[in-house]
Symmetry: C2
Subunit: 344 residues, 2 copies
């Protein structure tokens, strides 16, 4: 029914190039290029002719050709382990904002928590982007070094590789979990369970490191293998009940939600019978129920912003490579309270 004027060039036709525009406007391709990119002053009359030729023909510059000629793709890549975790979309928003301000589009890819495919996807991204942001990378140190040494701009988010200078921006999970431990200690908790995240997760290791340090304050944290989704938390709840603990700290809020659901189904009251604490504070706008959850919080938008800016300066001139760490805060809400008289 509807058929715009553009329908003339059917589906199977050669795409219109800068040459076509030049011919139509009666100028050279260089002039067209200049008009479109504002590279140099052009006679207003010619510019007008170019503009209308562009409009008439529906010309769109070919990204690949531009990239080849300019020597840069005009895009940055972002690799995340799991898009289903609201954490990453939040980070992505501020990354995109920064990138757009620099005239770059952002290309998002998801590794599904798999270290091997993560490595391949990262390689892929490096081939077609000017710089890459690796969020919470799961690949091992060797692979990371291999990638970083390619001489391609890379910034790590939530991962610090000890002994190596790869620029990174991370949340201070160690500090965050330390706050959580302090909170629990002051409430009177002594025996705590930690629902552990992915083994390859640096953030997870940092949390555990904090627990080990907190042992000096008389708090005993048992690590229970779990995972990163609500489902994992739900399934791990049984193991928690066997441990005779008075509080549970979860790898992240999603896991905490899952665990809470299972624990409540099992007849436990939170926080009367058991305190539950999460991490990330993904609740704010997404899950109102989470306004209840005591958790360690951080500004995800700030994390994304700094990471993107870091990548930009890396792509411009070489910025510094010192790891940067962002503080976390404790958000005490309704799921943490003093332990019951007879815990367990």
């Amino acid at each position: 029914m509807v058929s715009g004027s553009a329908a003339k060039r059917g589906a199977r036709q050669r795409r219109v190039t800068i040459n076509d525009v030049g011919t139509a406007a009666g100028v050279s391709t260089s002039t067209v290029s200049r008009v479109l990119n504002g590279t140099a002053r052009v006679d207003p009359e010619l510019a007008r002719r170019v503009q209308s030729a562009v409009a008439e023909l529906g010309y769109r510059p070919n990204a690949a050709a531009q990239g080849l000629a300019r020597g840069e793709a005009g895009a940055i890549g972002v690799l995340v382990p799991d898009l289903s975790n609201p954490y990453f979309p939040d980070v992505l928003k501020s990354v995109s904002a920064v990138a757009r301000r620099h005239g770059r589009r952002v290309m998002v890819m998801e590794s599904d928590e798999d270290a091997a495919s993560e490595y391949e996807l990262a390689e892929d991204l490096m081939r077609c982007c000017d710089g890459v942001l690796l969020c919470s990378p799961r690949m091992d140190r060797t692979a990371l070094v291999d990638l970083a040494l390619r001489g391609h701009p890379v910034v790590l988010v939530n991962r610090i590789v000890p002994g190596l200078s790869i620029p990174s921006v991370s949340a201070d999970f160690y500090g965050g979990m330390t706050l959580v431990c302090g909170h629990l200690t002051q409430l009177g908790h002594r025996r705590v369970a930690y629902l552990s995240g992915p083994e390859a997760s640096w953030a997870n290791a940092e949390r555990i490191r904090a627990f080990e340090a907190a042992a000096a304050f008389g708090i005993d944290v048992t690590v229970i293998p779990c995972g990163h989704t609500a489902r994992h938390g739900y399934d791990a709840a049984d193991a928690v009940r066997d441990r005779g603990v008075s509080a549970v700290v979860a790898y992240n809020d999603l896991v905490a939600f899952g665990a809470m659901a299972a624990l409540e189904e099992a007849g436990l009251r939170i926080p009367e019978d058991l305190s539950v604490i999460g991490c990330d504070d993904i609740s704010v706008d997404d899950l109102p129920s989470s306004r209840r959850l005591t958790t360690a919080s951080m500004a995800r938008d700030e994390l994304g912003r700094q990471a993107a800016q870091r990548l930009e300066s890396l792509m411009a001139a070489d910025g510094d490579t010192e790891p940067r760490s962002l503080p976390m805060e404790l958000r005490v809400r309704l799921t943490s309270a003093p332990p019951a008289a007879s815990p367990g």
Copy 2:
């Protein structure tokens, strides 16, 4: 500390090209190309030399150059309105699977529910991808037509443009909401509130269309402007209580969760005092609490799979352009029940 052999070529050096490989291996660039792409048979000895030269120099083909020479980018683009909604990551997973099987990477972009930026991002994607998947596009019909007529492969997801043949794959929201209405009617509900989604949402319009048709069965649905996030649902809960309805249908599960949280805080019991029904069934693995929510469900992986395959066949030969619709199912869980004796 660590410094691999690749460190020799510092950060600011010319990237190694196919020419360098050829020279190093003592063969022509075409032979290198043939070895790398398996385009033609090559003497095993030469192939070996090429391989090791590639490894030695750490050569990675330039994506832009490949794209230019081949005439295709080797990537598809996917545009979604909101990555924070678990709905889209789920769709993305199956899209990625299909794309990867066809040797294409996928480029994800987010429009933040904004029609204008959506149009621009779509244009961007078309410039650097071989095909584009527009998920739940919010832009108006005119813009969509404009885009579709560019002669670039485009497939719509969850949007059907009447009177125009743009290939699309959508969930049958009309059918889904009709099931919901039937369920409510059989439970005895007569007065129902609908927490409406984004105005520009086709899916939202389809739901409303279903309510209008259901009026014939004696069910009266009041549309309350709301939004697409849990926060929106939370904030709209007050308006629901004023309406004297015995049931609430939400634009999606996120909204339903938000509304439920607010309603429960206000002292209402669900489903005793009020039934709540969602849409999308995003709960399965993400939010265990949602196992409680009665909702209209659809196979998101199937949606993504079909959409991606459709795009692939569109890029190969011209496939058909008939809109395809996927059925939805009703998942009756714990948030729907017969109305209280004295509703309101």
